[in-house]
Symmetry: none
Subunit: 125 residues, 4 copies
DNA sequence: GTGGTCTAGACCACC
DNA sequence: GTGGTCTAGACCACA
C-alpha cells in the first residue's frame, strides 16, 4: 500500500486511519494477517514505535488483534468492519456536503452535480 | 472570514484557495472591494508579503483586479466566477468520489449514501 | 504516594493500577489535578514516557482527562469512580477467596476467619 | 500441581510456599511421600538445586523430614500442619484487609462485600 | 511550565 | 522471526 503523511497531524493517527481504510475496503481481508510492525514501518518510512502506536490504537478499538508470536490479524467480525466502513463513508459525505455548502451549493444542487460528474466519467471512459 | 492553514503546503496557495471560495460563494460579491492586504494578512495571521503573493495569483487569473488608488476589486465578470465555482465544485466532487471508491463504494452506492445523509440531516433538523 | 514496582509485569500497567487505587480511595479527589507527568515519573523513578503511557491508558478509560496546558484532572464522574472502586474490590475479594479455597478453606470458613481476624485486630488495638 | 513463578522474588522461596500450600490443603497428606527432588524440579521447570533448597527450608521448619533411603515424607504432626494452615490463612486475610483498606473499604464494608461476592457466586453456580 | 509526539536503540519472551 | 516494553533525548504547541 502507499502512504501519504502530512506534518500537520500526528503521524500515528494518519497511519491508523489509512490502515482502517485498507481494512474496510477489504484490501486487508477479515482474518488475514497484517505485515509485521517493522515491515509496515519500513513501508511508511516511520519509526517502528510510531507504527506500533498506530496498531495499538487499532487493537484497542478491536479492529485488529495480536497473536503473540505470529503477528497481528484483522478481526473476523465482519459486522464491526461494515459498521466502520459506513461510519467513515458518512464522515466523508458529511465533509463533502459541508465544503459544497461553503462553495454555495445547496444539498440538491450538490446531488445534481455528483450525478453529472458520474455521467461525464462514464461518457469519457 | 475564518482562515485554516496547515503547514504541509505553501501558505500562499492555501490563502488563494480560501479567497477563491469566498468569491465564488458570493461572500465577496462581483465588483466589490477586497479588504487591504494588511487587513487580510492580519486576519489570517500571516506575513503581509505572503498575502500579497496570494492576491497576485488571483490577479493573474483575472479573478480580481487592482484599482491603482482604491485597492483590489472582485471581477465583475460573473461568467468567470460561475465557471470557477463549477470547476472547484467538480474538483471537490471528483476527490470525494475517489475517496469513496477507495473505501469500497461504487458510484451508485456513493450516490445512495449521499441521499441518505441528506435525508437524515433533514430529519434531524 | 509510594510506588511498588515488580519486574514481572509491564511497569506502565502497574503504574496505572496504582494510580487507579489512589483515585478510587479518594486520595486524588474527583476534579482535582494530578501531578505532572514528569513529576509522577520522577516519584516512581521511571522514564516519563512510561508514566505517559500509564496516564494515556487511564485517559482512554475515561478516569482522567487532560487539559491541554494545565495538566491532567481526575474525572468528576463520581459514579464512574464508584463503579471502578467496586470492581477493583470485587476482584480483590475474588482472588482472596480463591487463595483461601486453595488453602482448603470453604466459603463459610473463610468468612469466619475474616471475622475472627477483625475481632482480634480490634482487641489488640 | 501447577507452579507459578515470578522473577521478582527468590525462586526457592516461591517453591517452598507453594509446597506448603499443597501440604496444608491436604493434597500432600500427612505421612505421605513427596515426589523426588528431580521430579519436582522437572515439574516446576527449575534447577534441581533450587528445588533442593526449597525442600531443605521445609525440612528445617519440621514440615517434612527425610527418610534416609526412601525420600522425603510429610510430617504426621497434624497439629503442626493445622497451625501452619491457620497462620497462612491469617496472613492472606491480613493482606486482603489491608488492600481493601487501601481501596477505601472499612472492615465492616469489606465483610459485607465478601458476603455479597459469595452469594453472587452461589447464585451463578 | 504543561502535555503530546517522534525517533533511535535496546532488551525481553515466545516459538 | 514476532510483538511488547522501556529508556533517553529531542522537538512542538499552547498560554
Amino acid at each position: 500500500m502507499t502512504w501519504k503523511l502530512t506534518g500537520d497531524r500526528p503521524i500515528y493517527l494518519q497511519l491508523m486511519e489509512q490502515i482502517q481504510v485498507e481494512i474496510v475496503a477489504g484490501r486487508y481481508p477479515p482474518g488475514s494477517r497484517l505485515p509485521s510492525v517493522r515491515e509496515l514501518a519500513a513501508q511508511a518510512a516511520v519509526n517502528p514505535n510510531t507504527m506500533q502506536k498506530a496498531l495499538a490504537e487499532l487493537e484497542s478499538s478491536g479492529l485488529v488483534y495480536s497473536q503473540r508470536t505470529s503477528g497481528r490479524m484483522i478481526t473476523e467480525d465482519r459486522a464491526m468492519i461494515e459498521e466502520l466502513k459506513l461510519r467513515l463513508a458518512r464522515e466523508q459525505a458529511g465533509e463533502f456536503l459541508e465544503k459544497m455548502e461553503n462553495l454555495g451549493f445547496g444539498r440538491e444542487e450538490t446531488l445534481g452535480l455528483i450525478r453529472q460528474v458520474i455521467e461525464k466519467e462514464e461518457a469519457n471512459g
